[in-house]
Amino acid sequence: MIESLSVRALSVRRGERLLFAAFDLEVKAGEAVALVGRNGAGKTSLLRAIAGLLLPEAGTVAFAGKAGALEADEARARGLHLLGHQDGLKSARTAGEELDFQARWTGGSQASAAEAARMLDLTPLLGLDVRRLSAGQRRRLALARLAASPRPLWLLDEPLAPLDAARREQAGELMTRHLADGGLILAAVHDPLPIPARTVEIGA
């Protein structure tokens, strides 16, 4: 699966405004990159462009595996997690139903969803409607999806913002384990990540 991500000469325009131009980035297996930049610099847009949700004006996003370059659509559909500002959880469904669906949709299983819930101390919340969860609990539920389905590249947009100190540490352990398994992490952040990470600035 995905062993490296390379972004070459990427330019993204939103409406009239050129967010960034000729942006280069390389992320290898086992590496975490903290993407920093002022508000509106284009951190979210970069993540969405890598995920293929947003069409860049110029430049390329390429994924490579052990055996060389991967077909981009295939790599995105099977090898990439995007955790955005919004967690895509349905407020009228229970936390368990949503985690189960999200995990299985992205390639996990019922068992791996339960295991991820246990790892993040979410098991007692699984029977509750998502609307009853706090912002931090919802974010942990979204993080559990990442743990529940084995996709190597994690694109995280402010992943820790609603979490308290103890939960940030827990999320850090999750990321450390992912990197040790050969995963790649690209996280847009304002606060430092709880793990050692290379910092890349966008729109400087």
Binding site: L55, H85, G88, W105
Partner: protein, 221 residues
């Protein structure tokens, strides 16, 4: 295929709860059919003549009800990102959503259609055709409706926009479906209208998912 079924199950669960689900559509349908005699007069002979047409008009309007939320809710809460990055292409996502919309709304309305036609004075012998035509028409309504819902993504007051986009697309099935019923009621051959309705539904099922996917990509980007 298993991803499609997984998504279909989720969409069905959501459609069942979405704004009251089938119960709301059925109540709305009953309200239109009840209002008609109040507006057009209760002369049984006159009602019997327009019964097939009215049952179809009510069907088309009731099919509009929950379309607005079909893609909009997933778009607003970020779930559409997740669906776009899943194992199934967006075309399959659109098809699953439209199919769930059909199963949760179109199918129950198809059961109500012959009842409404008979209550308004149409002959009981019309019931099988009324049911079959409403079932097939419901499929066309769900898929063209899904297309309208995807096109209206991200716009303010999307509900009204969906109706404006979709009602012209609803015209052919209304013409063919109600036409087949009228023809049967007065003893003319009903098969041509019915077959045209089926052809339109088949075309919608085949083509609408492509357009839904394109509209979703456009809204996400």
């Amino acid at each position: 295929m298993s991803a499609f079924l997984l998504l279909l199950r989720r969409e069905l669960a959501l459609a069942w709860g979405r704004g009251g689900g089938p119960l709301l559509a059925l109540t709305f349908y009953a309200a239109i059919v009840t209002l008609l005699p109040l507006a057009a007069g209760s002369d049984p002979a006159r009602l019997a003549v327009i019964a097939p047409g009215v049952s179809w008009l009510a069907l088309a309007l009731s099919s509009l009800l929950s379309l607005e939320r079909l893609f909009e809710r997933d778009f607003e809460d970020g779930a559409l990102d997740l669906l776009a990055l899943g194992p199934a292409p967006l075309e399959a996502v659109g098809a699953a959503k439209a199919l769930a919309q059909f199963l949760a709304n179109g199918a129950p309305l198809a059961v109500a259609t012959p009842l409404a036609a008979i209550l308004l004075g149409a002959p009981v012998s019309l019931a099988p055709l009324a049911f079959a035509a409403a079932l097939i028409g419901g499929l066309a309504f769900a898929f063209t409706g899904g297309l309208g819902a995807a096109l209206a993504l991200g716009s303010k007051r999307g509900g009204l926009l969906v109706a404006v986009i979709v009602l012209p697309l609803f015209a052919p099935p209304v013409i063919f479906g109600a036409g087949a019923l009228q023809a049967m009621a007065i003893g003319l051959p009903w098969a041509p209208g019915f077959l045209l309705l089926a052809a339109y539904a088949a075309g919608a099922v085949a083509l609408a998912p492509l357009a839904m996917a394109a509209a979703c990509r456009n809204a996400l980007g």
